[in-house]
């Protein structure tokens, strides 16, 4: 039983990492209507940016900020240079999925000769273990949970209380209408790519820190986990993605405790398939902050 309690503690960390990534992904999708399959590779690129800074002597916390900045700029440029022109050309959503998958493939393989196949680690002392019953987490893991909580609250505040957030929701609901109502949708979309890109970059560094060691192949792993959390919660719904992250993070850790750990991801995805059959719109469809108002 202790193992399950401990796994629950680890689940808190896992779901924090997934939540940061999945919320960024799902906002990107919800507002710009773009399923960006290169998201995982932007994450891993940002993780490597932080890695090289870390090797150059900077702390990982600095690396996190740099990774977020890198992710923001990278995502922004990706949209401006590639996705936006394709969308303007009238490429269907399905076409955009294929384009972004091709981009994902290219980023991973351009990165490969630079970073190599082999796993690397940040030079970071995770701090001492803080125990609470059977739950034992390091200082860094608490910080990760803290970052996730702060970010989730910040996103809630952004969407609910700020003009930008309201403009985002309006754009998500109906871009044409939003534009006609005087919302500068182009600037809103730029802002969305910057904000979600920053979340993506930050999530990459956090995920890499959380994994202790990471390799180029993790980009695809990240993506699949993020997709699972986002789809589970109802894609495009930030609060749904949070719930999806909680479920995927917890199920992964608890099933590793309950069954053979080699299947832990399979179990999480089994739940995803079940949701697709029973509630294909996702758990929280059309109720989240980005849902059409009225």
């Amino acid at each position: 039983m202790d193992l399950f309690v401990a796994a629950f503690g680890f689940g808190l960390v896992s779901m924090s990492v997934i939540a940061i990534a999945a919320v960024g992904f799902t906002m990107q999708f919800g507002i710009t209507n773009m399923i960006n399959l290169a998201y995982g590779e932007v994450m891993i690129s940002s993780a490597y940016v932080a890695y090289y800074l870390n090797r150059a002597g900077f702390t990982i916390w600095f690396g996190m900020v740099a990774g977020a900045l890198f992710g923001a700029v990278f995502s922004f440029l990706l949209n401006r240079i590639l996705y936006a022109p394709f969308l303007r050309k009238g490429t269907s959503h399905l076409g955009m999925v294929i384009v972004s998958l091709a981009v994902s493939l290219m980023i991973a393989n351009l990165l490969l000769p630079i970073v190599g196949y082999f796993p690397v680690s940040y030079q970071e002392d995770p701090g001492r273990l803080i125990r609470w019953g059977s739950i034992a987490l390091t200082r860094d893991q608490f910080i990760i949970i803290g970052i996730a909580v702060v970010l989730m609250l910040a996103i809630h505040a952004l969407l609910t209380y700020t003009r930008l957030g309201k403009a985002m929701r309006a754009t998500a609901a109906n871009p044409t209408l939003a534009r006609n109502c005087g919302i500068p949708t182009q600037r809103v979309i730029d802002a969305v790519w910057l904000i979600t890109g920053a979340l993506c970059g930050l999530a990459g560094v956090v995920a890499a820190l959380d994994s202790d060691s990471f390799a180029i192949a993790n980009g695809a792993t990240f993506l699949i986990t993020v997709l699972a959390a986002a789809v589970l919660g109802g894609a495009g719904q930030p609060y749904g993605a949070m719930i999806g992250a909680v479920l995927i993070g917890m199920i992964t850790e608890l099933s590793a405790a309950a069954w053979s750990p080699q299947y832990k991801e399979v179990v999480a995805f089994g739940i995803l398939v079940l949701v697709m059959v029973l509630r294909p719109q996702g758990l929280l469809a059309k109720r989240g902050a980005l849902a059409a108002a009225g």
Binding site: K286, R287, A291, G294
Partner: protein
């Protein structure tokens, strides 16, 4: 113009009877307890302000949106639970408010694809090869060409539908619906975004179709058009029917004028 209700023989069964239709979107009552009869062999207009639920009602009648509750009887048959494609096959066919041509099919193919009873339109039929279905295909090509001729689009048959003008796309859509041999045609603003010259053409075509006995229910904004074309008019506001009758009888009803005809 005589009131439609006075013309209709009492014994004649309406083509479609929808009772107490509700359609809710996450708390929004787009259609809120609407009942409507569509008399056979007539053109019925469906009017109302923006957001009244007209298009939603049309979609619910066609089955492209499921009703939250209510019953729909089409030509004596309860179709409430049958999916849109089955209703279409039974002759309850709709068109769309936005252009909805099959862009990368030619104009002729847009018509052919809608035709039922083609032996080559099943997997097994297709696998048996051209000789198995070519007779059907030839017959349908003739039928489609006749329609194209009637609607003045013969010259365009081999063009991709996506390259046509807005008005031509409307015509394609109406012809496509006609290929199904409908008993009731649900038209969603067939004149919107169409060049005035073609508006007139469409009007004539619809009159001809009525003369041939086709029943039509159309959502339309343009009141002059409704007045000219429709035998009966149903007015909706906020998801409910607030009145029906001929245009002239409606003009006499104070609240309807307030709700829509003026405002």
């Amino acid at each position: 113009m005589l009131a439609a209700t006075e013309l209709a023989p009492a014994a004649e069964r309406p083509m479609l009877v929808a009772s107490d239709i509700h359609r809710h979107f996450e708390g929004l009552h787009a259609v809120d307890g609407t009942s409507i009869d569509v008399p056979a062999g007539k053109i019925t207009g469906l009017i109302g302000p923006n957001g009244a639920g007209k298009s939603t009602l049309l979609a619910v009648l066609a089955g492209t949106l499921p009703a939250t509750s209510g019953t729909i009887v089409f030509d004596g048959e309860d179709v409430t639970s049958s999916p849109a494609y089955k209703r279409a096959r039974h002759g309850l066919v709709r068109t769309f408010q936005l252009p909805s041509e099959f862009a990368r099919l030619t104009v002729l193919e847009n018509l052919l694809v809608a035709a039922p009873k083609n032996r080559g339109d099943t997997l097994l039929g297709a696998l048996r090869g051209r000789s198995y279905w070519i007779e059907d295909e030839r017959r349908l090509v003739q039928q489609a060409r006749a329609l194209l001729k009637r609607f003045g689009m013969s010259a365009k048959e081999s063009e991709y539908a996506g390259t046509m003008s807005g008005g031509q796309k409307r015509l394609i859509e109406i012809m496509r619906a006609l290929m199904l041999g409908p008993r009731l045609l649900l038209l969603d603003e067939p004149m919107s975004g169409v060049h005035p010259k073609i508006v007139l053409e469409i009007q004539h075509y619809l009159e001809d179709l009525r003369a041939e006995g086709l029943t039509i229910l159309m959502v339309e904004h343009e009141l002059h058009m409704v007045e000219r074309l429709c035998d009966t008019v149903v007015v909706m506001a906020q998801g409910k029917v607030i009145g029906s009758g001929t245009m002239s009888s409606l003009r006499r009803q104070r609240e309807i004028v307030d709700a829509y005809l003026v405002g």
